[in-house]
């Protein structure tokens, strides 16, 4: 599904990613953990194609295709989805209208007609039920005045609508209350299949109890310094990152 080779990226003069190697196969769940500022969100943005970051070395492959010259919207059309750590507000554009535009743009890129309104409504109903979202919510301006938790739930609603191949969830758990976390995690699990893959970026073991990862990676200072199975997350919860930082420094 996703293959990242020796990826280096920087913004302005600052090198943030310093040689990332990662392979994610279809059907897998990977967790990425690591201290604040280690480069987790940057990695997610680079995979999604944010132009602010300059890739200086290495490459990202999606289903064998080098994404180097692929615009962010085209990556989205190919099935990359990013649940943002800080979702952006777009005043005056309703969630429904935004989703309708997003879906129809993807369809257009695939040479399909706009989705008929009837199907769109059905899809919206189905997915909003999955995430227990009040339909009234969907006529509000995108993320404007949403609470932190509402924003995150809305991100996963969008993921459910777009049914991506590769979903990257950047700290989707932070801001969610206990019930919301369960609902959102449950939603993600329902969307999981043998044909898609999920990368969850998180600081907490708690989410991983619901969305059980096949692999856990620790990112530190722009590099993956340790990989393991789900037990690594437990170990981190217990011991923190210091021991890994020291190991990495050696």
């Amino acid at each position: 599904m996703l293959k990242i080779n020796n990826l280096h990226a920087r913004v302005e003069d600052k090198e943030i990613l310093k040689g990332i190697n990662l392979t994610v196969n279809a059907g897998e769940v990977h967790a990425i953990m690591g201290p604040n500022g280690s480069g987790k969100s940057t990695l997610a943005s680079v995979i999604a194609g944010k132009e602010e970051f300059e890739v200086t070395k290495g490459e990202v492959f999606l289903e064998g295709e080098n994404l180097e010259d692929t615009a962010p919207e085209d990556r989205a059309h190919k099935g990359v989805f990013l649940s943002f750590q800080y979702p952006v507000e777009i005043p005056g554009v309703s969630v429904t209208n935004f989703m309708k535009t997003a879906i129809n743009e993807s369809r257009k890129a695939k040479g399909l007609e706009d989705m008929p309104a009837k199907d769109m409504l059905k899809l919206i109903r189905e997915k909003s039920e999955l995430l227990e979202i009040d339909r009234k919510f969907l006529s509000r301006s995108l993320n404007e005045g949403f609470s932190g938790g509402e924003k995150k739930r809305n991100e996963i609603f969008q993921m459910a609508m777009l049914e991506p191949k590769l979903a990257i969830l950047d700290e989707t758990d932070s801001g969610l209350d206990i019930d919301a976390l369960r609902i959102v995690a449950n939603g993600v699990n329902k969307l999981k299949s043998k044909d898609n893959a999920v990368i969850v970026i998180t600081h907490y073991q708690r989410l991983l109890e619901y969305i059980v990862p096949d692999y856990v990676h620790v990112l530190h200072n722009g590099k993956i310094v340790k990989s393991g199975d789900k037990d690594l997350a437990l170990e981190l919860e217990e011991k923190g990152y210091d021991w890994l930082k020291q190991e990495a420094a050696v």
């Binding site: 999604a48 962010p72 919207e73 059309h77 952006v88 005043p91 554009v93």
Partner: protein, 481 residues
Amino acid sequence: MAYTEEELKKELETKEYEYGFYTDIESDTFPNGLNEEIVIAISKKKEEPEWMTLWRLESFKIWKEMVEPEWANVRYEKPDFQAISYYSAPNKKPKYNSLDEVDPELLDTFKKLGISLDEQKKLAGVAVDIVMDSVSVATTFKKTLAEKGIIFCSISEAIKEHPELVKKYIGTVVPQKDNFYAALNSAVFSDGSFCYIPKGVKCPMELSTYFRINQAGTGQFERTLVIADEGSYVSYLEGCTAPSRDENQLHAAVVELIALDDAEIKYSTVQNWFPGNKEGKGGVYNFVTKRGLCEKNAKISWTQVETGSAVTWKYPSCILKGDNSIGEFYSIAVTNNYQQADTGTKMIHLGKNTRSTIISKGISAGKSQNSYRGLVQVNSRAENARNFSQCDSLLMGNECGAHTFPYIEAKNKSAQIEHEATTSKIGEDQIFYCNQRGIDTEKAIALIVNGFSKEVLNKLPMEFAVEAQKLLEISLEGSVG
């Protein structure tokens, strides 16, 4: 989606008019320049009664004494008023012999707009009074309207057929001496529309006029007069387009609205005149005076979407003379490249319990300058006047400017005036967010701009709103590198 040449040609042949063609209509055009003889000649040409001729001459005299205003936040090369021809009338209906006559860039715009005039007419029964160059060429739906006693015709026709109405109202809301361009218009106005809704009549359809500027170097001076008699209602749509031309074209229209007791007038404009090319060359100068007078319990709403013109100078205003009268102004002004717009409104509260609402959305891109200029004036006798103003500016890039000049003059202590203003920028983060969801940058901007303008778009009649949204998209194309 793509048109073939054949399809396009066929469509053109069946259409009376489409967005701003330059055609080879034989027109009878006056020599350049302006003097008393020309004013008299215009009046004669139009077979006007003497009172009209005299009114024009009086206006000309006033205009000669005036100087062009300089206070607006716009910079442009002043038109040479002696280099303009003041009259041009088409001799026959347009005929398109070949596609070569049509500016390809313009054809492209039609395609993007995707809405034909015919379609528009079909939608919700829009009656169209087409103003081509300076003379009305066709008026439709006239019969249906006549049955209700509604008069909807060219102003020239009204001067001949309904002189008592024209004489009674023309110049009562925008006097000849009101301003430089209004005086000029009063002297030389070539044509325009006239509309009268009798007492208690609700006009059953949206009335619509399409303007165009056609002949090279012909200034267009439209004069519109809308009278809604007691308890009547009318919704009036005005849309304008112009062909790409290399020289500046002057447009100085005057629109007067009169809403008598308990009457309501909704006046919507979508303006898309040639804004000049990317280097800022060419484009229309749009200096318009629009004003409405509200008698007791009357209401006037101005809604405008301004995307065109090189220089726009325009302040649709309401004089709230009658007690309990209401004035509204909803505006979207988009400037791109080197466009300059200085637009806004004046709400003059004279009567008691008068209310006004101003919602202005300015969108600036490229190297453009976009100014909102608004005056809320509360007279000493206007007890309990209320105003709410909201001016929002959206900037794209670092080279454009947005300016807000709100003036408030309250001479009555009971006045409640609220003003809110915001300025925001389309952020990289917003665009990336949209991109990430599969929406390309061009579309993302359109989405964000439409969201920003929503409160005003919602005020437009349905079929106009669709066109307006597309215009917003087109006019901002290429605004982000």
